[in-house]
């Protein structure tokens, strides 16, 4: 499994880029198929949310008042920090500094786990107040959006785990694999950057 790059796909993506362009596509090109697809599907969730927001303005306004923007903002900062660690880990991997890269991935993963824990605390406090998935349309969107995002975070933690194993194993790590995982993790980050104002701030 020396090189996981698919020659066909590589040729394909190089073919699309403009000649003379020294562009570099980070990671496996397959991950970009995934990222672009996720961007489109999340846009659909946002559209559904905004549509209902428009229809049921008062219900949404009132329900949004019960969320905690402080925890939402804290989670944004946690995820941004984790993205920084993961991005630095890619730099370290390219510099051949696997040990440091592995530590960066570990820190990124710790922040990601922190995000999941904070989300758990937040959900718990909403559930304790009696707001469940079935309470109203706003909480339906709230739990589905944050839940699907949390699923992506957990999957991202699996990706980070695979990256960590690659970096701390013997031999030189595959840069492309680390880039692939990092790309996925940053996607999780910027999706949350949009979800945060949408649910917590825009009332």
């Amino acid at each position: 499994m020396a090189n996981t790059t698919n020659p066909g796909l590589r040729a394909c993506t190089q073919g699309i880029s403009i000649p003379g362009d020294t562009a570099h596509l980070p990671g496996d090109s397959s991950i970009w198929v995934f990222v672009i697809g996720e961007m489109v599907t999340f846009s659909c969730y946002f559209a559904a949310y905004l549509f209902d927001h428009r229809q049921l303005h008062d219900v949404f306004l009132q329900s949004q008042g019960y969320l905690s923007p402080n925890l939402g903002a804290l989670n944004t900062l946690v995820l941004l920090t984790s993205s920084l660690f993961v991005a630095l880990s890619v730099h370290a991997t390219r510099a051949g500094d696997s040990g440091v890269a592995a530590r960066f991935v570990g820190l990124g993963g710790a922040c990601g786990a922190g995000f999941a824990c904070i989300k758990g605390v937040e959900w718990h406090s909403e559930l304790a107040k009696g707001f469940t998935l079935g309470t109203n349309k706003f909480f339906m969107h709230y739990y589905m959006l944050t839940g699907v995002h949390l699923f992506h975070v957990l999957l991202g933690l699996v990706f980070l785990g695979i990256m960590w194993r690659e970096l701390s194993g013997p031999g030189s790590p595959r840069v492309r694999l680390v880039e692939t995982g990092a790309t996925y993790w940053h996607m999780v980050d910027f999706l949350w950057i949009i979800i945060f104002p949408l649910l917590y701030l825009l009332r």
């Binding site: 993506t13 699309i16 880029s17 403009i18 362009d21 562009a23 570099h24 596509l25 980070p26 970009w32 672009i36 961007m39 489109v40 846009s43 946002f46 559209a47 905004l50 549509f51 927001h53 428009r54 303005h57 306004l61 923007p69 402080n70 939402g72 903002a73 944004t76 900062l77 941004l80 920090t81 993205s83 920084l84 993961v86 991005a87 630095l88 890619v90 730099h91 370290a92 440091v100 530590r103 960066f104 990092a182 790309t183 940053h186 996607m187 980050d189 910027f190 950057i193 949009i194 945060f196 104002p197 949408l198 917590y200 701030l201 825009l202 009332r203």
Partner: protein, 93 residues
């Protein structure tokens, strides 16, 4: 390990964190009324979210150095998504 923090990425991260706190302040303190957010704060919150997403995509995901098709795709997506958010949100007020 410390040497790696002397990277442009760290500046991007501090910018991202600062504007996150700014948008939190706008959304909860400055512009917040019982009847919702005032229009200027809301516009600022949407704009900040758009800038943040683009910073992450361009710098952390390294799309600024990626092939043209990807830069165009990601920017079009941002334009469409935030256009949709802004128009829906302001139309419903």
């Amino acid at each position: 390990m410390k040497g790696y923090f002397r990277s442009p990425l760290t500046y991007v991260w501090s910018l991202l964190s600062t504007i996150t706190i700014l948008s939190w302040w706008l959304g909860t303190r400055a512009g917040s009324h019982p009847s919702g957010l005032n229009a200027i704060s809301a516009a600022a919150v949407v704009l900040i979210a758009c800038v943040k997403s683009r910073l992450v995509i361009r710098n952390f995901m390294e799309v600024s150095r990626a092939p043209m098709w990807l830069r165009v795709t990601s920017d079009s997506w941002l334009a469409l998504t935030f256009g949709m958010i802004a128009s829906f949100y302001f139309l419903s007020r």
